[in-house]
């Protein structure tokens, strides 16, 4: 195996970041240039959104349930077991709903986009598309970005809701709490900042999932091995970037929204 110098490696990484930035910029710019492929957007929304629904529902439900279970142990020591609803709702809406949904969608779709587009690159289908007069960025990348951002927004809301139901199931069946009290507690504890934070995050994460998946796919080189490498890289990069951006966005929103 050939060793690569640290300088070259650093240059390569900086160049990749620069290429990704330009790629993302072009993806957004294509929204304002004709043609816009609405049919492809709807098809992708179906594949990404509807196709991811089962894993999002399952993840949301079990996360909410385990959150209620873990919280009950601590809250019981302080005699505040009735606050389970509040803890589940704020945790799910602010953080776990958007982040876990995004990670699940990244695992399913970022890698899927990278492998699909990567296969098209190595079998010259992307070149064929360009040769036939179609811009692959407009036809393949922008619709995936729009569809992921749009659908992840709603998937995160569904995940939040199902998470609350999961918490309710534990509260009612194991902790013997009153369902009405749980809902009232969960609902009243939420403030505008919580909901805003919970809704802005999936939009940012959706953009990351689609652009990272498409970026690695469109830059896949070296046959089937290259496609496999692109698929893995896309999933890892998207997951890490989601968690890093989560920290940055949370800190930024807490500072700007005069959080309590």
């Amino acid at each position: 195996m050939e060793l690569i110098s640290p300088t070259d490696l650093a240059k390569e990484r900086v160049l990749t970041v620069q290429d990704y930035f330009l790629f993302s910029l072009q993806t957004v710019a294509n929204l304002f240039r004709k043609p816009l492929y609405f049919a492809d957007m709807i098809q992708q929304a179906d594949t990404i959104g509807v196709g991811s629904l089962p894993i999002v529902v399952l993840t949301g439900f079990f996360t909410g349930a385990v959150l209620a279970l873990q919280a009950s142990n601590t809250l019981e020591r302080f005699g505040s077991i009735t606050l389970v609803g509040q803890l589940v709702s704020t945790s799910m809406v602010r953080e776990l709903g958007p982040v876990l949904t995004s990670l699940m969608v990244a695992g399913r779709n970022s890698s899927g986009m990278a492998s699909e587009l990567g296969s098209m690159v190595v079998t010259e289908q992307i070149d064929a598309m360009r040769a036939l007069g179609t811009d692959p960025m407009k036809k393949l990348v922008t619709p995936r970005m729009v569809a992921t951002v749009f659908m992840l927004f709603f998937l995160a809301i569904i995940s939040d809701l199902v998470g609350l139901v999961g918490g309710l199931a534990i509260a009612k069946l194991l902790l013997r709490l009153d369902a009405r009290q749980y809902w009232a507690n969960a609902w009243e504890s939420l403030v505008f900042q919580d909901v805003f934070m919970g809704l802005i995050k999936p939009v940012i994460f959706g953009f990351i999932i689609a652009t990272i998946g498409c970026f690695y796919g469109m830059n896949a080189r070296g046959g089937t091995q290259g496609v496999g490498r692109a698929t893995t890289q896309a999933m890892v990069a998207a997951s890490v970037l989601i968690l890093a951006m989560d920290l940055i966005v949370t800190r930024f929103l807490m500072a700007t929204l005069s959080y309590r």
Binding site: P35, E124, Q125, D127, A128, R130, A131, G133, T134, D135
Partner: protein, 282 residues
């Protein structure tokens, strides 16, 4: 034999000028890292002619097609295609130019998520404003040309290698382009299927008078093209007597070490004293 040079001013004349060459390469240099693949390649393709490009693997034959299509930009030199300098054009303008060019890729490059009908109709569907009935009629016409009308609703994965190449030809010719680029259209095919593909290329050349650049490593295919003509009466390719070979609009280009070492017709190729060419054609 060196390649004849064509003044670029005449090459960049309007595309309706029938005397202007359809492709002009002028001192084109292209490298990948330290590997200089093309070292000052110059040639031109007159309108209505088919030029076969030869060379060993890695000599840059397929690269010439991608450069002509503007899919890759050269390091230096100029490439004029249908009167437009593709080395200077932004990608947006290249899409319009590519509408006048058909390309058949080495491994067909059919879209595997689309049916044969959708693959062949792709360019028409992208154009918008073309009615479904018109698309259907033209798809059937193109598939009839390659004798694959019955494959309309099949997926590319259900076709054999030879059938995929023929569908790729149908996709390339559906808009009756002014220029066709073939990248090893018979590569990896059995002799019978290869002959079918060559017959289709000759048919396109002689019936529609389309200019073409054909990359191949199969000398016998290019010799067949240079010695045969398509007969519309019998709908078959027929061999011409030796005296009439010069009537066939066919020429040869041989690449070696990134340079053009031969550019001429069949007669010149057979008479060439160059040792490499003699060894190549033997």
């Amino acid at each position: 034999m060196s390649a004849p040079t064509v003044p670029l001013d005449s090459a960049t004349a309007p595309t309706n000028d029938i005397s202007a060459p359809v492709i002009v390469f002028e001192d084109v240099v292209m490298s990948f890292g330290d590997n200089e693949v093309l070292r000052g390649v110059s040639f031109h393709l007159p309108r209505g002619e088919t030029k076969a490009v030869f060379g060993v693997a890695g000599s840059g034959k397929s690269l010439i097609l991608k450069l002509a299509l503007g899919l890759i930009r050269p390091d230096s030199g100029r490439i004029v295609v249908l009167g437009e300098d593709v080395t200077q054009m932004p990608e947006e303008q290249l899409f319009a130019l590519r509408g006048k060019i058909g390309m058949v890729f080495q491994e067909s490059a059919l879209f595997d998520s689309l049916t044969v009908r959708e693959n062949v109709a792709y360019r028409l569907m992208e154009e918008h404003g073309v009615y479904d009935e018109d698309i259907d009629r033209r798809v059937r016409e193109a598939l009839r040309f390659v004798e694959l009308e019955h494959t309309l609703d099949l997926n590319p994965s259900e076709l054999s290698g030879g059938m995929r190449r023929r569908v790729a030809i149908a996709r390339a010719i559906i808009t009756q382009p002014e220029l066709l680029l073939y990248d090893s259209p018979t590569g990896g095919l059995d002799p019978v299927t290869s002959n079918t593909i060559i017959e289709l290329i000759v048919k396109q050349r002689d019936v529609n008078k389309t200019s073409a650049l054909l990359v191949t490593h199969r000398l016998q295919d290019a010799f067949t093209m240079a010695t045969h003509q398509f007969d519309k009466q019998t709908n078959r390719m027929i061999a011409l007597p030796p005296g009439q070979h010069c009537d066939v609009p066919m020429s040869f280009l041989v690449l070696r070490d990134g340079k053009v070492i031969f550019d001429g017709d069949l007669h010149n190729l057979a008479q060439s004293q160059d040792e490499y060419i003699q060894e190549y054609i033997s």
